[in-house]
């Protein structure tokens, strides 16, 4: 019985740690590749990925908005892949980077599902956040 309890306590924690570590590692990997390419656009992309990687692990008030950071990371990565599909050069490092970015989207989606619930739960959070922002703006106006 005690064994079952231990497994129940440890498993989610381990899953969370592995998922978060994977997300941060993949984010920093693609940031490093973008930084190695030089040029303003790639450096800005690298800075964006680094900021999001830090936001994924920094404690404090950001912790409550982690779900939003996950969504932002998915959106940013998808936009980067889309930009490459339309405008990007085709060479081996670019293909490796896109593979990392696809894996990153999968890892963030997994973490998002695991930590934040499914799409319905996320939609509810977005709705609550939007309502809160609207109330704040209306109160100031």
């Amino acid at each position: 019985m005690a064994t079952i309890h231990t497994a129940k306590l440890v498993e989610p924690r381990l899953t969370t740690i592995v998922a978060r570590a994977s997300v941060v590692a993949l984010t920093l990997a693609t940031a490093t590749i973008h930084a190695s390419l030089g040029g303003m656009l790639f450096l800005m992309t690298a800075a964006g990925y680094t900021t999001l990687a830090l936001a994924m692990v920094l404690p404090g008030p950001l912790g409550r908005l982690r779900w939003l950071i996950r969504l932002a990371l998915i959106g940013f990565t998808a936009a980067t892949i889309g930009g490459w599909v339309i405008f990007g050069a085709r060479f081996s490092l670019a293909y490796l980077d896109k593979a990392i970015e696809v894996a990153l989207i999968a890892a963030v989606t997994f973490e998002l599902w695991h930590s934040d619930g499914g799409p319905m739960q996320l939609a509810r959070r977005v709705r609550v956040l939007a309502r809160g922002l609207a109330r704040t703006l209306l109160a100031r106006a």
């Binding site: 941060v24 490093t32 390419l37 990687a53 830090l54 920094l58 670019a94």
Partner: protein, 127 residues
């Protein structure tokens, strides 16, 4: 992640940027191969904005990449619809001698596919 870890990550990325942008040593531009042209990339920029090449026959184009970042040379017509030549993308410091097929006389454009802001004019017929 602690503040120290955050600084380590930023330092790592800053180092990567430095290596990518500085690349190999600066030096005199390489000599163009016989009957061909030469262009160098350094600091995410080409060393010239105009390339003089022969028209109507294939020619060697020596491309020296002095950056750590990958670059290449693409030659295309002014409309940009059809590439006349696409060179292999490679990281530096290294060089390749591209064999460029015959291109028509006139003014064309060249650029790096990875960094489209690296660009210039190709004048075919004067080489």
């Amino acid at each position: 992640m602690t503040r120290v870890h955050g600084r380590a990550v930023i330092a790592l990325l800053a180092g990567t940027v430095l290596v990518a942008c500085t690349g190999g040593p600066a030096g005199p531009p390489p000599t163009a191969p016989s009957g061909g042209a030469v262009v160098t990339a350094q600091g995410v920029a080409f060393d010239r904005t105009q390339l003089a090449v022969p028209a109507g026959r294939s020619f060697p184009l020596l491309f020296e990449n002095r950056d750590g970042a990958p670059h290449n040379v693409r030659i295309y017509d002014d409309a940009g619809a059809q590439p006349l030549f696409v060179g292999e993308v490679f990281g530096g410091p290294s060089s390749r001698t591209y064999e460029v097929p015959a291109i028509p006389a006139g003014t064309h454009r060249f650029r790096c596919d990875v960094h489209p802001e690296m660009s210039g004019t190709v004048v075919a017929g004067s080489g």
